[in-house]
């Protein structure tokens, strides 16, 4: 088993949304559906002493993944490599997993009537390439790899960071793997604990992003 995931350096992230478009291109995602969104956090503080950062959110590859637990058909599963994935053939569209996911990163594919989400671009990584969002990332802020492999990009990024700058999304025991790097120099980390799935949101996706 490996612990493959994305790590995002928010000190560097410039909120350009290239990762969102790259993801949609690579995976042919329909309008109104999202596997990866960039939330703007802030500005917080008192003008003009403000803080703000951007938080790209996609499947966090939880070690104890609620989506896998609640799936009645085994469509949400963990593969031999340890990655949380969706087998759409088995998905019956009950959306339990969308409710169970604390991060709103599961997306309802209206055309195929199935739930889907970030696959870590297995079709690319299996051919030795980076996930599309990592390759496009304009600020060199996104990393992909196995946290158990000290030579992976993610392990190196985590090792280089001040431990006080390492964060995860709100962990209710599900143990998200994705690490976010944010130092106090840029902004104070905000625990964003309820992110609605964009495709279920009332507002246009763009509005749902302000967290």
């Amino acid at each position: 088993m490996s612990r493959n995931c994305l790590v995002v350096d928010l000190d560097k992230c410039i909120g350009c949304h290239a990762c969102e478009v790259a993801c949609k291109n690579e995976n042919g995602i329909a309008l109104g559906e999202y596997w990866n969104r960039v939330l703007q956090i802030g500005p917080h503080g008192t003008f003009p002493d403000l803080e703000q950062y951007w938080l790209p959110v996609q499947c966090q590859q939880c070690e104890d993944a609620p989506c896998v637990h609640v799936c009645p058909t085994g469509a949400s599963y963990r593969d031999a490599d340890g990655k949380v994935l969706v087998d759409k053939e088995k998905c019956i569209g009950c959306k339990y997993c969308m409710m169970a996911c604390p991060y709103g990163v599961r997306s309802w594919n209206a055309k195929e009537k199935a739930v889907e989400k970030c696959t870590l671009c297995g079709q690319l990584t299996s051919a030795g390439q980076e996930p599309a969002c990592v390759a496009a990332c304009c600020a060199n802020a996104r990393f992909y790899g196995d946290l158990d492999d000290p030579n992976s990009d993610v392990s190196k990024a985590v090792a280089a960071a001040d431990p006080a700058s390492l964060h995860t999304l709100h962990d209710a025991g599900n143990k998200p793997l994705t690490r976010y790097i944010l130092s106090d120099k840029i902004a104070t980390w905000h625990d964003v604990d309820a992110i609605k799935p964009a495709s279920d949101a009332q507002d246009a996706a763009w509005f749902a992003k302000e967290a």
Partner: protein, 1016 residues
Amino acid sequence: MSTTMTRRSFMKTAAVTGAVGALGLGAAHNMAPSDKAWADNDVHEVRTSCRACIANCGVIATVSNGRVIKLRGDSIDPMSKGRMCPKGLSGIQALYHPNRNKYPMKRVGAKPGNQWERISWDEAAKTVAQHMIDMRDKTGKHGLLCTTGGGGNPQFFSPPRFRNFWGAGNVFEPGCAQCYLPRNFTMPLVNGIGDTSIADSGCSELYKPAKYGGLTEVYVIWGTGPAWHSPSTSGRCVAELRENGCKTVVVDPRFTADASKADVWLPIKPGTDMAMMLGWMHYIIENKLYEKIPGYETFCEQWTNLPFLVDPRDNVSLPPVAEDITKDGQLLRASAVFDDVDATNEGYVYFDTEKGEVTKAFALGPDNDGTYHPQMFGTVDVKLKDGSTITCKTAFEAYKDRCADFDLDTVAEITGCKKEKIIEAIELYCSSAHGGISLGVATDMYPGSAQAAIGAAALDCMTAHLWHPGCPANKVGGQGSKGLTSCESTIFPSGFIGETKYEFQTNDAILERLGYCEHKGLGGWMHSHIPTVLSAVLTGEPYQPKVWIERSGNKMAALGNASSWVDAFPKFDLIVHGYMYPTSFTTEAADIVFPVCEWLENAFAQNRLNVNLMRKPVTNLFEAADEIMMWGKIAEAMSDPNSELYDVNMEACMDDEKIGSPMVPAYWKTINEYWDWVAQQGGDKSVTTMEQAMDAFPVKWAEDDEYWGGTTYDGYCQVNAGSGVAGKVDPGMEGASADDGKVTYTGFSTAARDIKDNPKKCGPYADTMLYLGRHGNEKFDMPAAVVDYNPMPYYFTPEDQSEYGDEYPLRLTEGRIPYFHHGTLRNNPYLRELYPAPELWISPENASKYGIVDGDWVNIKSPRTDGKDVFRDITTGLSTDTVMAGGKDAKFGPSEFAPGEELTANGQSVVKDGIFAVARVTKGIAEGTVYMERFWNPEFLEDGSDGRKSWTTENMNVLTKNTGYFNPEFGTYTLRGIHVKVAKAQRPEGIWYEPTDFEPWMPEPTENTGGAFYTK
């Protein structure tokens, strides 16, 4: 690789079914016949270069059976390092957009309207030619108007090139005087190096790999947003600088991505940049920071023109908006002081403290640099050779006087920034010479454009942020050892770099350019003054523009006070539009439409530091062609001496021998010939065809060690034996070299054109600009402008504030977002999904005052939408020879100094309901300031829609101001710092907003036809 690796590709080659049929223009089906026979499952990669904005990042396109199916960054590009931004990543959706202009079209219904009929390229070109010949024979050649600007991927100089060949007429783009030209033209005349726009010119030094050391230590990001204007190139670069420890100051009304990562953020009130600059100068002079820059303590004294004496006799005329500023004019000429100095060895003078006398300034060299002891401040009594005595200030003293009132308490009040933050910013800026200011487009977008450009460049000169390791103002790059060179396939107009053998235009035709004599900086790009053109169109004075050829993005979204143009369109005999898609301009104005290419279809040789990229025709659709072919085919239609449509100039411009200049190639008859020409510009002499170039490029023409190791820092004190070759400035402005065998340093070359004995200083006191306004920069002496081009920056209150500030209390600024470049890509489904409607940023205090909460729709109005500030006659009575006013007085007739009757009340009434945006209530903008970026709604060009709504609903450029004040140097009008009022409103009907609304614009892949004029 295999296409099936993509889980679900919308680009898969399944047949497209059903007609597009949404838009008159796009009515033809996207499936076009092709003779191309593709081998089954042919998948290959083409290494090309993006042009979704002006950054040109390296891109690898995957092509499957003739169709582009994937884009990713090319890591050979040392500026983008393989990264790609949302604009570039949207290239496939742009390429295969169902509403591409596919064939030439002619209008068959009324204007405005959207009924078109397909015609041939030949018929389209001949129609334009017929109108041009008729115009020439009836009213003269000067009736031609060529325009650009607003996005797309053109050859930048096509419009002035065509106009110059034709021999007369006008050229404009809404950018130019309002976007980049002021900095591009002014900054080299001040700092002797070049402009420091990271968005435009590259600031190559900032991209230096860390292993070469001497990195940028302090970087002032002033009115520019690298993270969002070009995320993959400049955004990436600045992110890396910050990672490497560079300290940043961001001067921006918005709390942008770069601001949120800065060491100091100065949330400046729009339009007050010059006050901030004068404040920085005040503090720097008061605290003598100019002599405390670590390692460069004597730079200001030794290498700037600040010790030179100012001639108090010069009765400099002051701008109408700032008639109370100090009256220091041109620098004193040595010929007024010394008997042995005349026009042949003209120079500047200074007072030498060691010799105790006024001395002619000289170029420093190793044998004389110990003898230069200039007085920096105060006044000097100078005995002139006519026997009289005058009291002269030093230029630095003149600066001290100019900024005397700008103590930081005052500056804090004007700019809305806290005094302590301003001090922190200045101290940081002066803590190291390894850095400097990148001035962005913000100041170019209001009439302080020249003043701010002088100010930023002068600050960098005073504080030695010039030509040292880490400075944005620098000269970077050594030579490679492979025999290859840097490249770029820009095509120049005649007269831009040297003259042509054939004389295409007379001096009189140059003088006739509308607004040029008054605003001579426009000559930098051979452009005219937009408001003067508009007034001429509406009044017929001093002459009537009649044929308009426009080849770029949506003018209605890009022109200031856009609705003032509505009444201008019927005045033309013919209006032509060349673009990739229909825009509001097409439906409002065009008679003929030419289909031009997306960047994935175009060719261009593009340098990126030590790598040469080649934009390649990855595919070519329908009958679209590179825009260069539109101009060429119109010219060709008039090139046959046996045709009724014959013009002798147009014959000459089809013939390289007749033109007689290697810098000015003739038009090409086939696209293949043009592509081959582009391939030949790639810097590799062995490559002569695009076919070869497909494999030969990209190429790294110098190794990193050769390139970065070959950079000459501090090159101004490089010993230069007698040749006098100096800094990279406009060759026309360079003083003659002192080729008298004297051993000198390279120095800077910023002297006015009459200075023959160039002391080679950088010129924060912009004597160069003052001289330009009085003489111009043509091969002949031009009449002096009515208002002098002041040699120092000055501040003035934005006109909207003084005239309408009570009723329109909020000051509006613009600024980039990562999704669009200029007017482009508003029809791109993934990008509109991300940003479906323009945001209006408003502070919580202002929002609460107007009853607005986050996410509300709001209505925005300005004095232009409300009929209070209507564009007026500024041309009746102008001289027919020079197109200049007799003076500032109304007795000479309407001019920009004394506007006459209102001309566009009817057009401006079209937008009387104001425009709409979504409120973003945020602390990221100061109370009293609001932000909104340009927008337009291509959905209103779909069948059955009211096309006019495409530019009247969400387009902030109906709020902006083209009604004057125009600054003297460039005639810049006001796009930022206008005043508006805001009220809660309802979402406007008919706009597309929900993600699935954009479904009709999802791409419809189509065959590679080779495009128009493809012969192989």
